[in-house]
Amino acid sequence: MADTPAEQPAESALQELMEVESIAIRFAGDSGDGSQLIGGEFANTSAIVGNDISTMPDFPAEIRAPAGTLPGVSGFQVRISSEDIFTPGDEPQVLVAMNPAALKTNVNDLPEGGIVIANTDNFTRNNLRKAGYEESPLEDNSLSNYRVVKVPLTTLHKEAVAHVEGLTNRQIDMMKNMFALGLSYWIFDRPLDPTIRMLEKKFGSKPNIVDGNVSTMKAGYNFGETVEEFQVRYHIKKAVVAPGTYRAITGNQAAALGLVTAAQKAGKTLFYGSYPITPASALLETLAALKNFNVRTFQAEDEISAMGSTIGAAFGGAFAATGTSGPGIALKSEAMNLALMMELPIVICNVQRGGPSTGMPTKAEQSDLLQCMYGRNGDSPMAIVAPATPSDCFDMAVEAFRIAIATMSPVIFLSDGYLANSSEPWRIPNPDDIPAIETNHPTDPETYQPYNRDPQTLARPWALPGTPGLEHRLGGLGKEDGTGNVSYDPDDNQHMANIRAERIARIADRIPLQTVMGPKTGDLLVLGWGGTYGAIRSAVKRAQQKGQKVAATHLRYLNPFPKNLGDILQRYKQVLVPELNMGQLSLLLNGKFPKHVISYPKVQGLPFKISEISDKIDDILGA
């Protein structure tokens, strides 16, 4: 590097290698800056050196917002830790800002003393204006609370790749994020080798591209070492991780794999009918690519059609699923009720987003719980499962099908945008260890009746069209049990309503009992569900380390609740329920159990911070 930056401090500061348990870094820039790409690679390398990782992308609010503008900023946060971690972290200690807009939208999340790495080459008058800065924040002292490292990244990058032949300007431009990655590796004491090997494998046939990427990454790393701008480097010890093969996985990927796995474990076709909607579309896209697994995807003309198609597919004998978000559930509800009346096994995935109405499609909320519980006409009990982490989406998707098939009823898989898009390491299960899902299709006309029930599960038989002698009609009208004939008889109607409720209630017999993390009795139980798992668990762990008598429990089954939930609630003096809604689970719990729970609602489109829950715990315990 011929040219070191002009802003080099006069005196060399001491570089110290600081051992920390956990740290978070956020990469932010235009979509084209590849923040997601280098963030993902940073996470991969960290996983390989033995840290636990958790990542969270932050998408631009607008599709293809112009480069350099505030709505065009995308970000990617990675948290790495020597301990088991559950969230991507509250606030990043380091922010890599590729342009003024990225700085502006992200800098407020940084704690005092945090490091800002800014690409000064992009702090042009034009870009500053687009971000709404009058003056460059790098020059006007407004960032005095942070440690700002000014890096003429584009310039340095171009020099670093100058020796590589045959690169177009566009290619060179696309590689510049690797400089930032190299610099981040230096700050966090990560090796370059895993990334170099990855580049060699992926671009082996294009040596100049490997050379360009590696050269600039090394230049970034060396820049950190040379400029003495950084007073501190961080070292994060290895986490104790169970042996096995791992991959990073997002909630939507895991859910899609879970749906396929369930169908495969039953030797069935997977039918997935869906209408594109944020943040559930990735399910449809992922499944559409898996046609060699006998997956049949149907991109329906609307949400209603998507739901209707699953009813037909389930009647025809496929493992049928649909996926959507809250607005889609609203449209599907009438057809969901038809599935309930016809008693057909269907999995309905709701990847929740900010509501009501169109709300905040790219932001996460848990505010569809009551919609899923009660948002249909008539008494309409429906089973609901809720994954707690991105990788748990796999297990709960399989579980949703297991329940649907066992009870012959629709099951709601209640995920959210935060789970859907966050990723974490997943110890890949051996599919051979996953129990098969048994399906039974009657063939004997002598004993068959459409609504003859299994005395244990109350499930009716799943007779398939094409079976001679079992011709029958299903419909949404009130009916007689057994024959399924239309009936408006008062007793029949009461009986069928009882059966539908009882069938769901009995699911509690087959699901695991609720467990708690921490003391079996105590001052406070923090109870959550869905994507708040990480924040709750981390906050409760902190509280326990402080000596507070606090336990955590996380519900993965919301309807029915695990059988022992009422007992658990009684064992703590108080129960706190943090939720990304205005208190919906609290309402259910307070309606069902004598214990009064304290609601802690939040609807800001953002996940809970660990510190918010910690503060609330302290508040309640008077600490």
Partner: protein
């Protein structure tokens, strides 16, 4: 239908269910049900392979009365359920029974899409031009002016023509028949069943309670021959009690003519149901009472790939290309790392063979990416100038002296300067070319001449939202070397130079995937 050979011969009674039929006495639905139960044994389809799917309405009770598999679904959605069923099991023979409200009002969207997809189902639309089940409100096929309980002063809505709607939705088989003409009805049902792809059949059906006689012009013995036209493939369009009238084309307009008197069969429009272009069928669909006889029979009968067969074919192709899906491989289809037993083992990384797809790295952002231009040409055509990283221009006030301007150009190595007025609006451009042409060699006082006197006034400018292609176009057409980019108020914000554009053009030919 190979399986039909093995099937024991069925008769009408085999298709009658044990349910009591509960339509109003005299309803046209009875005739349709009877014909269906008569026709099905002739088709040789095993009973267990038949599924009747309906929505809500009087007609939608139909599945209960058929001793086959059946689904009585919700209002308007029968097509969606049938589509899912056919995709799950393409071997089934699926009939959709619907009405004018069910199919054209609440289920209009689904009708459109099932037709365009060409799912291999048969749709029977019982059109009685009224809402019967809800006791007499106007429907989307009720004629304008129709007085009903919900339109006491007459409906002010334009009615829909079901056949026209089906044709506009790319239907491959479109026919019309009448409940009272049982032979014709039976024949159309058979043909609908035989067609591969969606068969759409409109059945004029009488609601004797709420809309009695709505089709009497087409059903009453004394007038029906004069008011209906039986479509026969390859035959001239002749109708009338005396078979003496015909349809002739006058330019693009059909007209009724009387045979004889200089008009022969040769002059008449000939029916061809197999025409790929739907214009002929559409023209027929617009023949409406009382100006024309309404056509009965098959309007259109063409072949197009069947939706569910293509879905299954993609499954088969995927297996052929990639092999039967392997769950173990699927779960590992990503970059993986192996954490060994014991604290000191080294973690091993396995890089996935697959190129990283953007959706792997940026889950759920793929909509954004799909909108991004894919080809160099698209970059060139659609990307706005604002997406280029153009340098900020050097702006100078109009009263700047030439000597100052030249010094600035030398110091900044600038090819040109933008001249602005007091409001910072662009008034001219002063480029190296101006220097050579107007200043060099002439006797000009550089200190006392302003740049405004020598600049090129009102230069061609572009806006940041204009496509990049406009810059290249102007440069190649006009030979400009610099084009100022200005904001809506005419203030310069950047400068497109020949050099920068050359770099950009070079970049268009880059490999799309760099890291």
């Amino acid at each position: 239908m190979a399986d039909a050979v093995e099937t024991p011969k069925l008769d009408r009674k085999d298709f009658v269910s044990d349910q009591e039929v509960r339509w109003c006495p005299g309803c046209g639905d009875y005739a349709i049900l009877a014909q269906m139960q008569r026709v099905l044994p002739e088709l040789g389809i095993p009973r267990e392979k038949l599924v009747f799917v309906s929505g809500i309405g009087c007609s939608s009770r139909f599945p209960y009365y058929m001793n086959t598999y059946g689904l009585h679904t919700i209002h308007g959605r029968a097509a969606t359920v049938a589509t899912g069923l056919k995709v799950a099991n393409p071997d089934l023979h699926v009939w959709i029974v619907t009405g004018d409200g069910d199919a054209l009002s609440i289920g209009g969207n689904h009708l459109l899409h099932v037709l365009r997809r060409n799912v291999n189902v048969n749709i029977l639309l019982f059109n009685n031009r009224i809402y019967g089940l809800t006791k007499g409100q106007y429907s989307p096929t009720s004629p304008t002016g129709k007085v009903t309980k919900s339109s006491p002063m007459g409906s002010v809505e334009q009615d829909l023509n079901a056949i026209s709607v089906a044709l506009a939705s790319e239907a491959t088989f479109v026919a019309r028949t009448v409940d009272r003409q049982t032979k014709h009805l039976a024949e159309i049902l058979k043909r609908a069943s035989e067609h591969q792809g969606t068969s759409f059949v409109e059945i004029y059906q009488n609601c004797n309670i709420f809309n009695d006689g709505t089709w009497s012009f087409a059903t009453e013995a004394d007038v029906k021959d004069d008011n209906t036209l039986l479509l026969e493939h390859g035959q001239p369009m002749i109708f009338g009690k005396e078979k003496d009238k015909g349809i002739r084309l006058n330019g693009l307009a059909p007209e009724v003519v009387t045979l004889g008197d200089g008009v022969s069969e040769e002059d008449l429009l000939k029916h061809d149901e197999t025409l790929d272009n739907p214009a002929h069928a559409y023209l027929l669909s617009r023949l409406m009472y009382p100006d024309f006889p309404v056509p009965l029979g098959v309007f259109r009968n063409v072949q197009r790939p069947v939706y569910e067969e293509q879905v299954v074919a993609q499954n088969e192709k995927a297996v052929e290309e990639r092999g039967e899906g392997n769950l173990h491989a699927l779960l590992h289809a990503a970059d993986t790392w192996i954490v060994p037993e014991g604290p000191d083992g080294e973690t091993v990384r396995e890089v996935s063979e697959e190129e990283p797809s953007l959706s792997d790295i940026i889950p759920d952002i793929s909509q954004e990416d799909q909108l991004a231009p894919r080809t160099s040409l698209q970059h060139f055509m659609y990307d706005p100038i604002s997406s280029l990283d153009l340098p900020t221009p050097h702006s100078i006030p109009a009263q700047t002296s030439l000597s100052e301007a030249i010094k600035l150009m030398r110091d900044e190595n600038a090819g040109c300067l933008l001249v602005v007025n007091k409001k910072q609006r662009l008034v001219g451009i002063f480029a190296q070319g101006d220097l050579f042409e107007k200043v060099a060699g002439s006797d000009i006082d550089l200190q006392n001449t302003t740049v405004a006197e020598m600049m090129t006034k009102d230069p061609t400018v572009l806006k940041a939202s204009d496509p990049i292609g406009h810059i290249l176009h102007l440069m190649s057409l006009q030979g400009y070397r610099h084009i100022p980019i200005v904001d809506p108020d005419g203030r310069p914000i950047s400068l497109a130079s020949f050099k920068v554009m050359l770099q950009f053009t070079g970049g268009l030919f880059a490999e799309p995937s760099v890291n």
